[in-house]
Amino acid sequence: MKKNLLKIIISVVAIFIIGTFYVSLKKTEIYDTKNLVGTNLDNFELNSLNKKLKINQDLVKKSQYTLINFWASWCAPCRAEHKYLINLKRNAKNLKLIGINFKDEKKNANKFLSEFGDPYHYSAADSKGKVSINFGVYGIPESILVNNDLKIIKKFIGPLNQDEYTSILNLTN
């Protein structure tokens, strides 16, 4: 009797763990970026990095195109793509940039922006990284191009390069 109980307990624990793995495996498919393009942006709300302002989907609706860029001061490749973001702010007419500062400290983020220049029209802070994960962010930098219907047009994984910069310009101008 005692032995049977033990068997049952061990089997239940094993099934529970495997079940959990299975469910979370199904969940990771939500994060799969391939399926993101063409879908609509989920509602979100973040605090602005420095201002008293909520950053949410209503801001996205206001401009024809929005590029949401995920970055952090500790992320080396973010520095590499920075010049393209600055140029986008300068040259892309119908595009607004939202920078989401990922798992970072406010002090370091502001230092980064003052040293390299601020390419964003709006800056939001996601210090715990939770909201960014809901956007389907694996690792930063990543960027998502959205139109005013909140439809995701393109997703860029890794630092933006010259080709991607030109394609964003062509799409939005």
């Binding site: 495997i18 793995f21 495996l25 969940k27 990771t28 040293e115 694996y138």
Partner: protein, 627 residues
């Protein structure tokens, strides 16, 4: 061409697996004591084909054959030769082929080297091992084929992430895999032992060398990973309690427990069931770790490539393994009698197992709890270093003391004799700790206790070492070396953790900065072109104001073209007493560079200690061989 050869070899290996399983089953019913020569031949062929297929993949990387998707995605013609070769196991597909190779090679070696006349035990081991091989081969063929072709053939590859181009990381996967995957052989042997009723001493003797091999290599593999993190990630740390790191640490705890329990089984013929549980658990946890890392459910910012279909396959495989192991165990295990004396050596060796299981549980909770919570409650949390320091560190103190005292107690029953000498050693440790305190400055109570107990273990081990050279019989040199290594590891981690000097500031060329006993001059900056990257090299003069020692450091900023990435190479000057660590990063539109300086005492001793721990395992292996 290479693609076809590779796939043919893999398919041949698969067919041979099926054939070996079939032959072994028929052989089981033949009443004699010798295994048919044919089976040996089949296993030899299987091993040859499998190794050849891996060489084909390496050849693909060396000649940059971009008709292979795997080579195209992970290599580049300008990559240095060494990293082309290591690129073969740098990707998921290649590392899976390496994984299969180790499964096959271990099954071959086990068959050849196990001098054992229990035929059904050997055959069952072979059967289960080949089921594992078959499972992973099918996974490779249907989901992760390293020999997939691409058309039209690209002219140039995408390149390997530069942060992965590092010697320590190049050898990290093979070392870790020998440990991880090597444990499969005693998973198979464990089930075989239950079914064939080949138990106790014989079983312990037959698996011991394989436990030692996998343990030693896994220790080295984890060390290589830490060395990479220290030199390459540029944050000056070497262990971050990242889920991926934890996944490699969990099986290590179980193998360590197993290694100690096997000794008890061999010498005292008891705790057979427990040893079996550990055998089954080691490989199960290794595969669980692989599942967590490869499926991407860990949500770590470190994992880039992940594919849920991969995860699903490993999960199905893992469930089959778990239920096979559970079924075999429940069906065949027998009730055992235990009669240990509380103060006997077995009890103290098993004390190791309590600690290992405590550490295992803590790390497992830290790693799995966030996943479970997310599924049940949809909340995301992350468990970081504070959790592990709070839970694990206090228990390291009694653990170290047990490690020092355990081996001193005689088999079966102890006479209280050496209490006085232990007392002297304790006093000596406290005095040495005061010396550390005096030399470096103040630190927390728990660190004090950890340092005292690690010195306690070191003195004990050194004393045993001398006894060994006088008498040469009584003591066990492999244990002494590993325990000494562990004591040193904890001591040096403790010191470097508490007494690292750190500073972060901005400088431009020609400027100097003074802080806490150091002065840094930014002498000059220059640019150089390398084969696959450009680099900006800074020259810094570092003066230690206390000792007036001068050093020149050259940190680099590297700009790789393929893929376009910026990396910061720390300049690390390693001395026996301390490492000086300097990184610089550029600040755009300004002449200033951000400088990060660290002085980390006794860093190199951490690596030396870890290698010492592993060498204990190798020494024991040589001893078994010569006996």
């Amino acid at each position: 061409m290479l693609s076809n050869t590779g796939i043919t070899l893999v398919i041949l290996t698969t067919l041979l697996s099926v054939l070996i399983i079939y032959k072994s089953f028929t052989e089981l019913h033949i009443e004699n004591n010798l295994i048919n020569k044919k089976i040996f031949n089949l296993v030899t062929f299987q091993t040859t084909f499998s190794i050849l297929s891996f060489f084909v993949l390496i050849a693909g990387f060396i000649i940059s054959d971009f008709s292979l998707v795997n080579v195209y995605e992970n290599s580049h013609t300008k990559k240095p030769f060494f990293y082309k070769v290591s690129g073969a196991w740098g990707s998921h597909e290649g590392s899976l082929l390496l994984w299969i190779n180790i499964l096959v090679i271990f099954s071959f070696l086990f068959l050849v080297f196990t001098k054992h006349n229990n035929k059904s035990y050997l055959l069952y081991t072979l059967i289960f091992q080949n089921f594992l091989i078959l499972g992973f081969l099918i996974f490779l063929l249907i989901n992760s084929n390293p020999f997939s072709k691409i058309y039209p053939i690209p002219l140039e590859g995408l390149g390997l992430n530069p942060i992965l181009q590092d010697p320590a990381l190049a050898i990290h996967p093979p070392l870790l895999y020998i440990g991880f995957v090597g444990s499969s052989i005693y998973f198979s042997a464990g089930i075989a032992s239950l079914i064939s009723n080949c138990r106790d001493k014989f079983f312990a003797k037959s698996i011991k060398p394989w436990v030692l091999i996998s343990w030693s290599f896994q220790t080295l593999g984890i060390t290589a990973g830490s060395i990479w993190a220290y030199y390459e990630l540029g944050w000056g740390g070497f262990w971050f309690w990242d889920p991926v790191e934890n996944a490699s640490l969990m099986p290590w705890f179980v193998i360590t427990a197993l290694m100690h329990s096997v000794i008890v089984l061999e010498k005292r013929n008891s705790i057979y069931s427990w040893v079996i549980i550990l055998c089954l658990l080691t490989f199960t946890i290794s595969v669980t770790g692989t599942f967590l890392v490869r499926s991407g459910i860990l949500n770590s910012v470190h994992t880039f490539a992940n594919d849920p279909s991969r995860g699903l396959y490993i999960l199905i495989f893992l469930s089959l393994m778990i239920f096979l192991a559970l079924a075999a165990f429940f069906r065949y295990s027998k009730k055992e009698e235990y009669n240990f004396f509380l103060k006997s050596k077995e009890t103290l060796i098993l004390a190791n197992n309590w600690f290992m299981f405590f550490f295992l549980t803590s790390v497992m909770i830290g790693t799995l709890y966030p996943i479970i919570l997310e599924v049940l409650n949809d909340t995301k949390i992350s468990v970081g270093p504070p959790f592990y320091s709070a839970v694990i560190f206090p228990f390291v103190i009694p653990f170290l003391i047990f490690m020092a005292l355990g081996p001193k107690i005689n088999w079966i029953k102890n006479k209280y004799s050496r209490i006085l000498s232990n007392f002297y050693i304790l006093i000596a440790s406290i005095l040495l700790n005061l010396l550390v305190y005096f030399f470096f400055g103040k630190y927390s109570i728990i660190s004090n206790l950890i340092i005292i107990s690690s010195i306690f273990l070191i003195i004990h081990s050194v004393k045993d070492f001398f006894i060994f050279f006088k008498k040469k019989t009584e003591s066990d040199i492999s244990r002494i070396v590993s325990h000494l290594g562990f004591g040193m590891l904890i001591l040096f981690i403790g010191i470097s953790h508490n007494f690292t000097v750190e500073n972060d500031f901005n400088l431009k060329v020609g400027e100097e900065k003074k802080f806490s006993g150091y002065q840094i001059n930014f002498n000059s900056i220059r640019m150089e072109n390398e084969k696959n990257y450009k680099k900006i090299i800074g020259e810094f003069k570092l003066v230690n104001l206390k000792s007036n020692l001068e050093e020149i450091l050259y940190p680099e900023i590297r700009i790789y073209d393929q893929p376009e990435t910026l990396t910061y190479e720390a300049s690390i000057k390693t001395k026996l007493s301390a490492d000086t660590y300097l990184t610089m990063s550029n600040i755009s539109r300004s002449d200033y560079y951000n400088i990060k300086f660290q002085n980390k005492p006794f860093m190199i001793w951490i690596w030396i200690s870890a290698i010492l721990i592993a060498s204990g395992g190798f020494i024991r292996l040589i001893k078994i061989k010569t006996q």
